[in-house]
Symmetry: C2
Subunit: 133 residues, 2 copies
Amino acid sequence: MKFSKATNYALHTMLFLAVVPPNKLIGVQQLAERQEVSPTYLSKILTKLVKAGMIESTSGANGGYRLKRNWEEISFLDIIHAIEGNASLFECDLNHGQDCMIQKIMVTAEEKMEDYLRNQKISELAKKMTAVL
Amino acid sequence: MKFSKATNYALHTMLFLAVVPPNKLIGVQQLAERQEVSPTYLSKILTKLVKAGMIESTSGANGGYRLKRNWEEISFLDIIHAIEGNASLFECDLNHGQDCMIQKIMVTAEEKMEDYLRNQKISELAKKMTAVL
DNA sequence: CAATCAAAGACTTTATTTGCCCATGATAAC
DNA sequence: GTTATCATGGGCAAATAAAGTCTTTGATTG
């Protein structure tokens, strides 16, 4: 089990958009170059972020992506869920009588991780990054 | 990202061995039937647990598997690591100057989950299970 | 209308997981 | 010591998921 590269690309893209001057439109091209990934592949990831309501896109010349209004509230967990989905990391499909105690423990463990990630805002990290510059 | 079925099989096997009369040898056959998985596949998972020092095996007629001495201390995390390996769930291989802040946050999140799983002993769960019977 | 850029679908490639088959080696029972 | 039993290990095959490409469409700007 591993987080996908797509999640990594999504997190880095969001952080970059949060550091760049607000409302400025950034094209896939530029985002892809920074991360050394093909623009077409990154494009699919960005579309997921658009559908999740985290960024918005503008077509046509000088188009691109930028963050949406509520972006300061967006957490790491939001981004991860947008890319990886919301399903539980552990699912016991064995049919052993009552509900699975192992499953319960695993889900609780996952929630510990999620609790932390829910409190890590991309905006907070962006603030720290710009402070270093 | 998902925990593998192999991890689920391993956890259930360990719990079963912890509930069964101590020192009794259980064959793959029996373990596989309970979980509705092929004996050959489960066998490979069990071999990993043997190599991790959690269970021991006896070949030959009436052979099988049983827990090792220190089994009461074995945690969920130990079992998961034995099957899935010890690598971090998140690895940023982008080469952007300094060390990756995103990576740091993700690793910390993972540690929250691990902290919990380290404190969940299979022996504790076994105790609860037998209490219900 | 021409250039630019995101969206979307189909498709290929690669990696991982899951599972099976068969040969080998250890052990107990007879 | 031979036979039946059972774990170990290698190699292979199928299924699934992740990563990446190509091409068409549709929107927007100039």
